[in-house]
């Protein structure tokens, strides 16, 4: 297979990986913590891409999600295209700098609420 994928970095890498259905996930650990879709390289890329594009705030919840790279590190050897997505996500997260302090303390925890992370809840429900 010709991937035409190398060398990619930054947004182009995250976009490529977000579009990939993650054949590398077979290399992820089988423990409980790794059985979370947000821990796959493709999902981490999807989150990073959304931050770059201004769709997702780089708040505490997002930073916590981008920090969950342990399982994705195990995928590196199984990436058909030879990418180190976990490393790229870690570098990206480091480049975000310190988190804005106030609004995000509650957002970092599980179940803290995306509404809070985005600036306060409003109406939900089906459209």
């Amino acid at each position: 297979m010709s991937t035409d994928a190398a060398p990619l970095e930054g947004r182009a890498l995250f976009l490529y990986c977000a579009c990939c259905p993650t054949p590398c996930r077979r290399a992820m650990p089988m423990d409980d913590a790794a059985q979370h879709e947000a821990c796959t390289p493709s999902s981490l890329s999807m989150i990073a891409l959304a931050v770059i594009d201004g769709q997702l705030a780089p708040d505490a919840a997002t930073r916590a999600a981008l920090a969950r790279t342990a399982a994705a590190r195990a995928c590196r050897a199984a990436c058909p295209y030879g990418f180190d997505v976990a490393g790229a996500v870690e570098a990206f997260a480091a480049g975000l700098g310190p988190a804005p302090a106030a609004a995000d303390a509650a957002a970092a925890g599980a179940g803290a609420g995306a509404g809070a992370a985005a600036g306060g809840p409003s109406t939900g429900g089906a459209r």
């Binding site: 297979m1 035409d4 959304a50 919840a61 599980a110 179940g111 609420g113 995306a114 939900g124 089906a126």
Partner: protein, 495 residues
């Protein structure tokens, strides 16, 4: 137009029942944090990829994500959801390509990946019992280490779960010998919409009325959540023998494969490519100069049997004008069989999709030509390539790749929808089935009534009885949607 992620996040309200849900499974296994909702808002439906790459939510964000670790926890979650009237979607690895796992009404996503263990292997009966959330690649590797295989090897092997295979009634690349997943499942356990456990004990065959097991296999979670499967096992084959062939015409290749199957041979792999796809897999200067249509076959099992079958197949191919090539195309296919071709296109703004149908041999040549010509008439820039795999004595799966070029979304999505409508309509007109193994999900729902006729009424009645509040994967499989649900599939009369 799908909603921008930032707007969807802003509109999200934390569900008031979240702490109660956390009490059932543990706080670490429940979330409604924005990044988590975002990654569970899609599966591998290409339309969803088109939205995601543009920062848009394909349907809706889920209300929350829950990850039960045991069947009991899952049953508790289901009972809780029923009591609170919370719609839900079971989620494996999200590898489906029809949008079955995409939330469209703020469903609660129930990730099953913590249910990821092999329960037991019976080396006398040659069966394996496995939890539904286990990764396919990890499952097959564990079996191989013990000298076994299920023979279920889909392209999505590494990116899917065992439960997902059964939920969508999938097929592996070796289905010609080992069957589709419905031929391999001997028994199962599932949680019904009222929280009860359904158990189908694993036995080879039974005659006790219509198959209850098959109510779950292919139901895509609409009738229950599969938690455990017992599958048939095989010992790893002694040999795997490739047979790579070139044919002078597509018709010659189709006739040869039909004859192979009707001669009671049992190849493990059969793949025939049209001119477009053959050209991408062969090089000039050999067999394919005069015989440009590529076929890849593999025979496996005991050496003497495989060699005999391979020899007979070569005789049949030769009688149809075919000739044997070196094995390079087989080894290339083998090396990349579990990868996806789509990322390089989707990430560049193309609109790529795949459509697989099942047709009788007698209908295939005309069906293929009509679809090819109709799509070319839609747009000369629309790529169309086809191969036939998963072959049977009666017919074959026709697997088509359609790819639109980068252009503004409105035009591209209209062409994409029109291509789907064309293929499914021509398929139904030819007496074929609209899906061989990808399933229905959201995207194919509009065609299910035409596919099933009065059988669709039976399906909806069954759904209404088992799930009177329409909570399990609502609106998928062509079944009734919830009020206010977002529509993913093409608009308009698609029947």
């Amino acid at each position: 137009m799908p909603q921008a992620l930032r707007d969807a996040v802003r509109a999200h309200a934390a569900p008031p029942w979240l702490p109660e849900l956390a009490a059932l499974v543990g706080a670490d296994h429940v979330s409604d944090a924005a990044p988590d909702l975002w990654v569970y808002a899609r599966d591998r439906l290409p339309y969803a990829t088109f939205a995601v790459r543009d920062g848009r939510v394909p349907g809706t964000l889920p209300s929350a994500v829950v990850r039960p670790g045991t069947e009991d926890e899952l049953a508790a979650v289901v009972r809780f959801a029923r009591a609170r009237r919370i719609p839900l979607i079971p989620y494996g690895a999200g590898s489906g390509v029809l949008g079955g796992a995409v939330p469209v009404a703020h469903e609660l996503v129930v990730d099953l990946k913590r249910l990821n263990r092999i329960v037991s292997i019976d080396e006398t009966d040659l069966t394996v019992t496995v939890q539904a959330g286990m990764n396919g690649g990890q499952f097959e590797a564990a079996l191989n280490a013990r000298g076994f295989t299920t023979g279920h090897l889909p392209q999505s092997l590494y990116m899917s779960t065992v439960g997902g295979w059964a939920a969508c009634r999938g097929a592996g690349q070796n289905s010609t010998r080992y069957g589709k997943i419905e031929d391999m499942v001997l028994g199962l356990r599932a949680i019904l919409p009222d929280g009860q456990v359904l158990q189908v004990r694993p036995v080879a065959r039974r005659a006790v009325g219509p198959s209850v097991k098959d109510l779950m296999i292919g139901a895509e979670g609409t009738l229950g959540v599969i938690t455990e499967l017992t599958l048939r096992l095989w010992r790893l084959p002694e040999v795997q023998l490739p047979l790579v062939l070139g044919f002078p015409s597509l018709q010659a290749g189709l006739d040869a494969l039909r004859t192979v199957m009707q001669s009671e041979l049992r190849p493990a792999v059969v793949r025939l490519y049209d001119a477009e796809e053959s050209g991408q897999r062969t090089s000039a200067g050999g067999v394919f100069d005069a015989r440009p249509f590529l076929a890849i076959l593999e025979f496996s099992g005991p050496r003497r049997v495989a060699e005999a079958e391979c020899g007979l197949a070569l005789e049949i191919a030769t009688a149809h004008g075919g000739a044997r090539s070196d094995d390079a195309p087989y080894h290339h296919w083998l090396a990349h069989r579990f990868e996806s071709y789509s990322p390089k296109w989707q990430s560049r703004g193309y609109y790529m999709d795949t459509i697989e149908v099942t047709a009788p041999w007698s209908a295939i040549p005309a069906l293929y030509a009509r679809i090819r010509d109709a799509l070319a008439a839609l747009s000369p820039q629309l790529y169309f390539g086809t191969h036939w795999s998963h072959v049977y004595p009666e017919g074959a799966c026709q697997y088509m790749t359609v790819r639109g070029v980068p252009e503004p979304d409105a035009q591209a999505l209209a062409l994409h929808a029109h291509a789907w409508e064309t293929v499914q309509r021509l398929c139904l007109e030819a007496g074929a089935s609209i899906s061989h193994h990808h399933g229905v999900g959201a995207w194919r729902g509009g065609w299910l009534r035409a596919e099933l006729g009065s059988g669709f009424t039976l399906l909806q009645a069954l759904k209404d009885h088992l799930d009177p509040d329409n909570l399990f994967v609502p609106g998928k499989l062509g079944l009734r949607a919830r009020d206010g649900a977002v529509r993913l599939e093409p608009e308009g009369d698609v029947q």
